[in-house]
Subunit: 272 residues, 3 copies
């Protein structure tokens, strides 16, 4: 049995409270909010943040509702990943986090088989059948919260034993674009912008190794490479590595997205 | 004894944390936020959302502080509604939720007496006396949180046994305007706009039965009637039924309030 | 052992959730958010609000991360103040709240020694050593949350027994500017603006004693002095005493900061 259910959505208040009411009517799980302020209906941004944040939690059921297709025929999924389960719509939002959680579980098991294999760790995806819900516009309350409560009650390890839960190979997947790293630079794109205005790219932070204290060219502008925002004067644009391990375009005490004129989806070119 | 205290306000952070500190100093109740982002000092909007959200919770004490009259002589109320209690200012904000909770409690009791009666279920309203509080500007912390803690400790069923708590018939009430439904259309108004920009009206969703897949005229514009936002192309204005059961003016992946040019209080006319 | 860990930051979602994951992986403490919406990188504003809010909590470990110097050599601190502990960066943000908590603890002990002394109550400041963290940009997750979990586990009373924790006299302090109160008026400044637009000054509310129902001159404008916002007509600028005990520039059902044209740091002059 898992003690914990986390909640994630793009709802803003007060809709998440209705989901909490449903969960607390069915379980005594501890509830923890991840965010209800994900960019609205932005499945990719939510998938990114969930991949970065959920692995810091102890075993839990993660209820995720970023669901532009609410009320259509898209399925409801429950995914097992190590000791964790994720419950949410079949639009890809769960997959990057599920794979990261499974990866961590394998590492924790010491299940290194010595072949340095890069095969994707197993995640077990199930479809969760549901009756016609009370609404066509709020499946978070009417479909996903009840499903998460059921998974919590039966326990992640017995997820597949639930009525109406059946393994599936057919589901929407989602992956982030691959960056291009070459001898004289890297090309990628902005994945998300955080609340500080830091523009998080898909370029791995390792490209900056050996370049700290120097500068690289971002698009056309020479830009200081720093380990910490505060190494630069306030207002100075910098390149650094964020807490997710990727290259970030930032400004000490300012907003990187504005200084670099970028938003999610924009291409980024680094040269050295 | 109730395990749960919910908190609702228009405060935004950090003021709700002071209320939590007060509650946790007096009880071991579990605290759950409903919203602290209700439109500021908008008693009607808060009353609407509370009516929609609180009935999803198991028995609880609901602390509600949307209180434009803070520091004046307005009374503090504690209302019993089924297994729930609501504590907050005497400005009507508690009543619609209290009546809905009482209604649900009667249904749950199977207390249908077969006469199809529409009489309002009983809610028991009490006034809670309070000493001169520490502040005239933050009764959430100084009056209502302590009162909610006392109700929690004694239990909803014994609310009236508390010192300084006396039943009353004189209190501010609040109801939502009635829509007009006729053969060729309906007239109502926008009650609230949610964070997605969906404009929630007071027109019952049942007027759309038999019209899905067709269109109705909203004010002067023919508008598609859909069951789910995603049935329309992104950017298309639609009419649908929200999770509260009322007609909603919406836009798939956009904001209905902007597309229809409406805000809370504006009249809405549907014709067919 | 303390049951409670509070969390405060300027992060906005979803970063605080990573800190919660770290805490819940290490402890079974109850987590309560104070705010994650403190004005970004504004150490003084956070210090003010923490001083006002934290004393309402029962004994707790308070994790505070407003940290413009993240990733630089600034130390991590753990401060003992009565039955409470505060954990956060060495930039002064913890000190005003710590002193207030210590003050309250002394009062609660009845430790009045009759000399009316105004000496600052003792707070015990320790530096917390930490290994090179996983990131240079998110010490909330990688340094401070683990430290708060360790303090919680050992208990506030045994804080100094933890490995790597050593008392220190060298730390950044922070205090609020002193107002000037004279026979014909007071001069101070705006410390913070709350979500309602109330401009909180450093001028003690006691200067308004005997002036309620009258008016004072704020900068150049005669302004009504009220006990409660609602004593004035909607839209009227007023002077009142906020829940923190200081003079506040406000507007009934409006924003004081806009009406008075002030923001944090601006001087305020009251005359009578």
């Amino acid at each position: 049995m898992n003690e914990l259910i986390t909640l994630s959505s793009d709802f803003g208040p007060p809709y998440p409270a209705a989901m909490k009411g449903v969960l607390l009517s069915a379980t005594d799980a501890r509830l923890v909010d991840v965010s209800h302020e994900f960019p609205r209906q932005d499945v990719r941004a939510a998938a990114f943040w969930l991949r970065e944040v959920l692995p810091w939690f102890p075993p839990a059921v993660h209820l995720v509702v970023v669901d532009p297709g609410v009320g259509t025929v898209r399925a409801a999924l429950a995914i097992r990943a190590g000791d964790h389960a994720l419950v949410g719509p079949d639009n890809g939002v769960l997959l990057p986090a599920a794979r990261r959680l499974a990866e961590r579980a394998e590492h924790a098991d010491g299940a290194s088989d010595g072949d340095g294999g890069t095969e994707t760790p197993a995640v077990e995806v199930s479809e969760v059948a549901y009756d016609a819900p009370a609404s066509n516009t709020f499946h978070g309350r009417d479909v996903f919260a009840p499903a998460a409560a059921r998974v919590h009650e039966v326990g992640v390890g017995s997820l597949e034993s639930l009525d109406g839960v059946a393994p599936t190979d057919e589901y929407e997947d989602l992956s982030f674009p691959d960056p291009t790293v070459e001898d004289d630079g890297a090309r990628g794109e902005v994945l998300v912008v955080d609340g500080f205005g830091n523009a998080v790219t898909n370029v791995p932070g390792s490209v900056l190794n050996g370049r700290y204290g120097e500068s690289v060219v971002v698009d056309d502008a020479a830009t200081a490479v720093v380990r910490a925002y505060a190494e630069a004067d306030p207002g100075t644009p910098v390149v650094t590595v964020g807490s997710h391990g990727n290259v970030e375009l930032a400004v000490n005490r300012g907003r990187g997205d504005r200084a670099f004129g970028v938003e999610p989806g924009d291409p980024v070119r680094l040269s050295w």
